[in-house]
């Protein structure tokens, strides 16, 4: 075997190996999705979606979990998206983008994005449930336990903290795309800073805010660790009515049913179906975010 053929064979082998790694990832995704679709599609029906679990969670549907997840991400977005957006605006419009302050904040936000989800759960428990909730109870209810226990509000706020970096990064990216000339034109016409932000900058980064919100919702719907002890409940026959109620959640429901159910084997179709619904939910959200970001990147300022 001469030098050239040996090199050629080595090259083929290397190409094959790296391609196998790449397409291994593709196969992995396909395998997981097909398994879950195969196991779950038969059990999904309108009854499954619209009814509460029955018979000790071995039969029935997942309606409370769907509604709980919905409320969780709704409250989370109502708090997290405005806060994240305003922070991003402040960082880009009111302080110099490269100032030491802005750099520090960006470092903090990056750090926040890297903290494990379970640590947010601890923070939620220590800060929201015990410090805030306990404080409210002491002030208003004379120490009677009302707010100082896990509930949907504290879980949502914890989740809002977790998803804050997602929102801030998305909105910052969008704000950076608004050309400086537009702002200058607006200011030159006599508009004040706030008018410029409201009428020029914000309308041009609605897409970014929306992308951030969707990504945050997708992340929030999928994370379970932060709500383990800030508000998720094992089983509730009803949907949450007040902010002080606990709630069921899709991911937590999967976790409970597959690890602590009385009949893990028998409820397999329900578990698959719940997983499938959670997966569908996150996919729809993720893809709409990807699509929006794509539209945004091609953007009007290209």
């Amino acid at each position: 075997m001469n030098f050239r053929t040996r090199k050629k064979i080595q090259g083929r082998l290397f190409l094959f190996f790296t391609a196998a790694c790449a397409f291994g990832c593709v196969a992995l995704v396909a395998w997981i999705m097909l398994t879950i679709i195969q196991g779950g599609h038969a059990a999904i029906s309108w009854t499954f979606i619209s009814h509460a679990p029955t018979q000790g969670m071995t039969e029935g549907g997942i309606f409370p979990a769907i509604v709980g997840t919905f409320f969780l991400v709704l409250i989370m977005s109502l708090v997290g998206v405005p806060f994240g957006t305003i922070t991003a605006i402040y960082l880009n419009e009111y302080v110099a983008r490269d100032s030491r302050f802005a750099q520090t904040v960006r470092f903090a936000v990056n750090t926040l994005a890297g903290i494990p989800a379970i640590v947010f759960g601890l923070f939620g428990l220590g800060f929201f449930v015990q410090f805030m909730g306990g404080g409210i109870d002491n002030l208003l209810h004379g120490g009677a336990l009302k707010w100082g226990q896990p509930n949907i509000l504290w879980a949502s706020l914890t989740m809002a903290m977790l998803t804050l970096p997602v929102v801030i990064v998305s909105v910052e990216e969008a704000i950076k795309q608004v050309p400086r000339e537009l702002r200058e034109a607006s200011l030159a016409l006599g508009a004040t800073k706030w008018e410029t932000i409201r009428k020029v900058v914000l309308p041009n980064c609605v897409g970014g805010i929306l992308t951030g919100a969707i990504l945050a919702v997708s992340r929030g719907a999928g994370e379970v660790a932060p709500i383990l002890f800030t508000g998720a409940a094992y089983f509730l026959p009803d949907i949450p009515h007040k902010l002080t109620d606990q709630f069921m959640e899709l991911g937590y429901h999967i976790f409970i049913m597959s690890t602590q159910s009385t009949d893990v084997e028998g409820t397999m179709p329900i578990q698959y179906a719940t997983t499938l619904i959670l997966l569908l939910l996150t996919f729809i959200l993720n893809f709409s975010a990807i699509f929006l970001r794509y539209r945004l990147r091609r953007g009007r300022f290209a």
């Binding site: 290397f14 990832c25 806060f83 601890l122 903290m161 690890t259 997983t275």
Partner: protein
């Protein structure tokens, strides 16, 4: 983007000596600033609150400080098993603390209701070992796979291959960890058990494999960024002296991007170390100090997830769990900082002026 400072005529200065041309404007600006600061305050509070709850254990007694330090050492210097040496010391100190509590100091440090039955749970080393085992397995699989997949897409793949990989990785990154955990628990565990004929269905190996699924997107994305940042002149120079495409990829581009790839592995490590739901579902959750990879393990994060709901606010167990959380926090923080250092200082400096 500070506005150019404008001279304000004295007639328009308000009674407090501040420009009050537009009260609404002033109010909104203050509002935005306040909101942003609340946001930053909350970020800072995460640091404060997680450590605050663990602080009494660290500061409460001099001996407790020694213990946390010895834990820190054992975790940075690898799996070298020195547990037998520090374990009894720790138990002794906990007993001492417990006996203090029985005397009845109703201090925030000392609300201890089940000191004896909870005692074995406070040995931190099996948890750290468990986390390291799972992380090691995860990186063993996800590392090469993520890095070589990134190398393939950034240098060797045809255009359609690139177009194909991007959404795939986005989907993989979008899998909720509970879904991956479920998949590992139901499908992967059985396959691994049948394949190796294992005694335990759920073990560190299964947990690590499942963790690899969650870590691949992290390693892939960061490696790809690093590989894409290698200046085109490197490739051109290599091809010009007669190297083939794959030799360029393996011998020029990959070594050039080493700091970035190192950062990718570090971030993958951090992700695997802190991830909770997957290990909670797929590792069997038995805190054992054993060397095997095919035995059940309990990780740091899973311990917090599994036990926090049952502890009593303020007691030693509660504080121990917060201490575990602080450890996770410090590790992920440190890894992020080091990774950023590698990308920004080593990688970018290397390429500066080369493009």
């Amino acid at each position: 983007m500070t506005p150019p400072s404008v001279e304000i005529p004295s007639s328009k200065i308000g009674i407090w000596g501040k420009p009050r041309r537009r009260p609404l404007e002033w109010l909104i600006e203050r509002g935005i600033r306040a909101t942003a600061f609340v946001c930053l305050l909350l970020i800072a509070l995460i640091f404060v609150f997680v450590f605050r709850e663990a602080l009494p254990i660290v500061l409460g007694k001099v001996k407790a400080v020694e213990i946390t330090e010895s834990v820190g050492e054992s975790e940075t210097y690898g799996e070298d098993p020195a547990p037998t040496a520090s374990q009894p010391k720790k138990d002794l100190e906990l007993e001492a603390e417990a006996s203090d509590e029985i005397i009845g100091v109703k201090h925030i440090l000392g609300k201890e209701w089940q000191p004896v039955s909870l005692k074995p749970r406070f040995g931190i080393l099996p948890l750290l070992l468990g986390s390291l085992k799972v992380t090691f397995i995860a990186l063993l699989f996800a590392g090469p796979m993520g890095i070589f997949a990134a190398l393939y897409t950034s240098t060797l793949a045809p255009k359609w291959g690139k177009e194909f990989m991007k959404p795939t990785i986005e989907i993989l990154a979008g899998f909720p960890s509970v879904v991956v955990g479920f998949f590992a628990l139901i499908v992967l565990a059985s396959i691994v058990q049948n394949l190796f004929g294992l005694q335990y269905r759920l073990n560190a190996f299964v947990g690590g494999l499942a963790m690899a699924i969650a870590v691949i997107p992290v390693i892939y994305t960061v490696s790809e960024d690093a590989l894409a940042a290698v200046p085109k002149s490197f490739t051109e120079a290599s091809l010009a002296v007669g190297a083939s495409k794959w030799e360029t990829a393996l011998r020029v581009i990959l070594p050039a991007a080493t700091p970035g790839i190192f950062a990718a592995v570090l971030l993958g490590f951090g992700r695997a170390f802190g991830e909770t739901m997957i290990v909670l579902m797929a590792t069997g959750n038995a805190a054992m100090l054993s060397p095997g990879f095919f035995e059940p393990v309990r990780t740091v994060s899973a311990t917090i997830g599994a036990e926090m709901a049952e502890v009593v606010f303020g007691d030693t167990h509660y504080r121990m769990l917060f201490l575990l959380g602080s450890i996770l926090f410090v590790i992920s923080f440190g890894l992020n900082a080091v990774a950023e250092f590698f990308v920004r200082n080593k990688l970018m400096k290397k390429f500066k002026g080369a493009s």
